[in-house]
Symmetry: C2
Subunit: 149 residues, 2 copies
C-alpha cells in the first residue's frame, strides 16, 4: 500500500487506507479528522479499545450495514481485512493513518502493543443484529453481495 495519496486503494473490496492530518508541535501533537470529509461517512458512534493483552485477538466479525474507520492513535496494532475472497493485513502504527472498512468486511485486530489505543468511528448506533460472527456465513453472504452488484 502506497501512502502517497490522501486515499489509497487496497486489494480488499472497498477497503481504503487514508492519510490524516497529524500536526507535531512544541505544545503537543494533534491528530484531527472531519466526518464526511476525511472519514467517508457520517459518524454516529465512537469506541476506543486499549489495554489489550498482546496475545489477544479482537474483532473476528463483519457488519451488514455499519461502516467503520479505524485509527490507532497510540502505539500500534494489526488489522486483517477480508472481503470473502481476498484478505490483506494492515499495520496501524500512526495517528496519521486511517483504515476504512465498508459493510460486509470481515475484520480481525491483533498484535496490539502494550500502549495501543485503537479509535473506531462507526456509521450506526450499536445493533447486535448487524453482526455476522460466523465466517462461513459471512463468505456466503459476501458472495451474494458480489453477485447482486
Amino acid at each position: 500500500v502506497s501512502f502517497g495519496a490522501r486515499v489509497n486503494p487496497t486489494k480488499v473490496r472497498g477497503v481504503t487506507v487514508h492519510r490524516l492530518d497529524y500536526v507535531q508541535d512544541l505544545r503537543g501533537d494533534l491528530s484531527v479528522g472531519e466526518f464526511e470529509r476525511d472519514i467517508p461517512f457520517p459518524v454516529r458512534r465512537y469506541f476506543i479499545v486499549f489495554d489489550v493483552p498482546s496475545e489477544k485477538v479482537r474483532g473476528q466479525h463483519a457488519h451488514r450495514e455499519c461502516h467503520q474507520f479505524l485509527i490507532c492513535v497510540k502505539g500500534r496494532c494489526s488489522v486483517v481485512a477480508d472481503d470473502g475472497v481476498v484478505r490483506q493485513e494492515f499495520l496501524l502504527d500512526s495517528p496519521a493513518t486511517g483504515l476504512y472498512l465498508p459493510p460486509m468486511t470481515w475484520a480481525t485486530q491483533y498484535r496490539y502493543s502494550p500502549d495501543a489505543a485503537l479509535l473506531v468511528f462507526a456509521s450506526h448506533y450499536y445493533d447486535a443484529a448487524d453482526y455476522i460472527r460466523d465466517h462461513a456465513e459471512f463468505v456466503s453472504a459476501a458472495l451474494q453481495v458480489s453477485q447482486d452488484r
Copy 2:
C-alpha cells in the same frame, strides 16, 4: 460535582459532566459513546491532543457557535471552564468522564500527565472565524448572550 447521574450540572452556564460507558474486560478495555445520545450534539469533527509538555497550557479561547465534548481517554488533564462570570476547574482522569462545553464557554486545558490523550468532539468543521481569543472580548460577548436570553 457529583458523578451519580449520567449528566451532572456544574456551576458554569450550560457546562455538564457526563458519565460514559466504560467496560473493562480481559480482552481489553472499551470506552464507548453515541453522538446525539451520550454526546449531546451531532459531531462533525474530532481531534486528539497528546504529548503535551506538563508546563504547557492549551485552549484559552471560546467558540461562538461550536459545541465541544472532551474526554481524556488516557492519563489525565485539567480543564478550567468559564462562562464570563463563573469559572470552575474539572479534572479529567477517566475515559468514563466527558465534559460538555457549549458555545460561548472560555476553556483552558493544563496539567497534562505525560501519557495523556485528550479526545475532543466538535459540532462544526474547523473555522478560524469561530474562535474568540481575547478574554475581554469574550466577557463582553458572553454578557451580551446572557442579556439576550
